[in-house]
């Protein structure tokens, strides 16, 4: 829930980044962010709910504990894993860079400079890192693994997820917000709902590994 | 001291409700009226949370009220903006003074 609330505050922050400089390119970037963000918010919330259903609790420590000894959540809920990684959409980076795109003179980042720009870039990178760490904890079992102690495994998994996201992100072309919105609402959202239903059935029949 | 804290929080909630009512009754634009109504429901949320914590923490009824009030806020905003858009599309205006078709 804290993750969800923090990324909701990111919504307001990105819009304010666009509104504050009083410049049209920044504002267009901010509106693009809202369109994209709305398309991704619901699948992301369903992905987080699926994690909660699978573990029977909303607490991160319970989610990690539910995965030790058995299968990692990425095996039973792959769609949710992919959607959480696509939460990189909220940082306006990689394939989702339309709000900060080069066709808008930097869009949301158009007028920021100096300390403000440093803070914004740091925030975006931090959010990407936190999303990858959260994916490692909620889908890859946190500190679960043989031989090495738990914090080391957690760091290894987080770094692996970061590497995966950066590799894939750099290769995908920029997605236009209107097309993303269509795909997100008509394809991704039903997929996440089906995923949640599958996990719920697995939990009820006791089939969770 | 618990009693005083409850009363202070409930007074804050009452102030939010009163501010919302003043806003909702005095503004002309549909969106500003809705912001006033959101403030009223905000006050209700705070009052319900305080009632849960200070009076009956063992039963979930007040929490359910908080959930319901939050849903009411979302529904009211959605319908209010849909109505505002429809009003604008019909008459190119957003002030409720001109939306008198149901009057009389």
């Amino acid at each position: 829930m804290w993750f969800n609330a923090a990324e909701a505050l990111l919504w307001a922050a990105m819009w304010m980044l666009g509104w504050a400089p009083n410049s049209p390119y920044a504002l267009v970037g901010a509106y693009r962010f809202l369109a994209q963000g709305l398309a991704y918010e619901l699948p992301l919330m369903f992905a987080l709910t699926t994690v909660g259903v699978g573990a029977g609790s909303l607490r991160s420590t319970d989610v990690v504990a539910a995965q030790t000894g058995g299968g990692w959540f990425v095996l039973t809920m792959p769609v949710a894993f992919v959607v959480l990684l696509a939460a990189a959409a909220f940082t306006a980076w990689g394939p989702f860079a339309a709000p900060a795109g080069t066709d808008l003179a930097g869009g949301v980042l158009a007028e920021s400079s100096g300390v403000g720009r440093l803070l914004v870039q740091t925030g975006r990178c931090a959010f990407l890192g936190v999303t990858c760490a959260a994916a490692a904890a909620w889908f890859l079992g946190g500190g679960d693994g043989p031989l090495l102690p738990a914090p080391v495994w957690f760091a290894v998994k987080t770094l692996a997820v970061v590497a995966l996201v950066v590799l894939v992100g750099r290769r995908l072309p920029l997605l236009r917000p209107d097309r993303v919105a269509d795909v997100a609402w008509t394809v991704v959202l039903p997929l996440t709902i089906v995923q949640a239903a599958v996990v719920a059935v697995l939990v009820l029949t006791g089939g969770m590994p | 001291m618990t009693g005083t804290t409850l009363q202070v929080v409930l007074t804050v909630a009452a102030a939010l409700v009163a501010t919302g009512i003043v806003g909702a009754l005095s503004q002309q634009s549909v969106v500003m009226i809705m912001m006033g109504l959101e403030l009223v429901v905000n006050g209700v949320v705070l009052a319900a949370g305080a009632a849960w914590y200070f009076l009956w923490p063992a039963v979930p009824d007040a929490q359910v009220l908080v959930l319901l009030a939050t849903v009411v806020m979302a529904v009211e905003m959605a319908m209010g903006f849909a109505v505002a858009l429809a009003l604008y599309r019909a008459r190119q205006i957003d002030m409720v003074d001109d939306a008198t078709e149901l009057e009389g």
């Binding site: 829930m1 505050l9 509104w19 809202l34 | 102030a15 634009s29 549909v30 949370g49 063992a58 979930p60």
Partner: protein
């Protein structure tokens, strides 16, 4: 949090909420009005977090932030006073409204401070989220059902009111056009 500290912090958050609420109607710029409403909501969300309701507090923060982000788009679109450029007074019946507000505040405050509030009965369960979850899925299931149906009805009604083009515009008078006639193409080949 113990008694006096809780009182001070809740009082401070409450004062912030009320000030932000008043500011909503005082500032000229619509973006500022929306975000001061958000500040009011965040103060209430923080109060709920302090009152041992973590799930509901975060829910309020989350929902209201996204709601205000969407609302600011509509505010800027529909409000005729974008940034104080055209100072206009969009109020009517100010004295009646203030009178109504003052009467409500006086009546509620009189009730709050004179009623003999009951003692706190029972202790909070260790997990308040589970408490509300089980309540909504068990004895209060009617709330869940009604909320679900109301939200669905709202979505349908909102869309019906908001879109200017119906299915005859999109698919032709006999509903037989091979591809819908949308101004902006979606991402899927439909």
């Amino acid at each position: 949090m113990t008694g006096p500290v809780l009182l001070v912090v809740l009082g401070a958050l409450g004062a912030l909420a009320v000030c932000a609420g008043v500011l909503v109607f005082v500032v000229d710029s619509m973006a500022r009005a929306t975000f001061s409403l958000l500040a009011s909501f965040l103060a209430v969300g923080a109060s709920l977090l302090l009152l041992d309701l973590p799930y509901l507090g975060l829910l309020v923060v989350l929902m209201m932030t996204v709601e205000m982000a969407i609302m600011v788009v509509f505010m800027v679109m529909l409000m005729m006073n974008p940034g104080g450029l055209m100072p206009m007074s969009m109020v009517h019946n100010t004295r009646g409204a203030v009178a109504a507000g003052v009467v409500v505040l006086a009546a509620l405050s009189a009730g709050i401070w004179t009623v003999d509030w009951p003692e706190r009965s029972g202790a909070a369960p260790p997990d308040t989220t589970v408490q509300v979850g089980e309540a909504v899925m068990g004895p209060h299931m009617l709330v869940m059902i009604v909320v679900g149906v109301v939200l669905l009805a709202t979505m349908i009604a909102g869309l019906a009111l908001a879109t200017p083009r119906g299915r005859y515009d999109r698919l032709g008078p006999d509903l037989d056009r091979p591809r819908p006639d949308d101004p902006v193409d979606g991402g899927l080949p439909r």
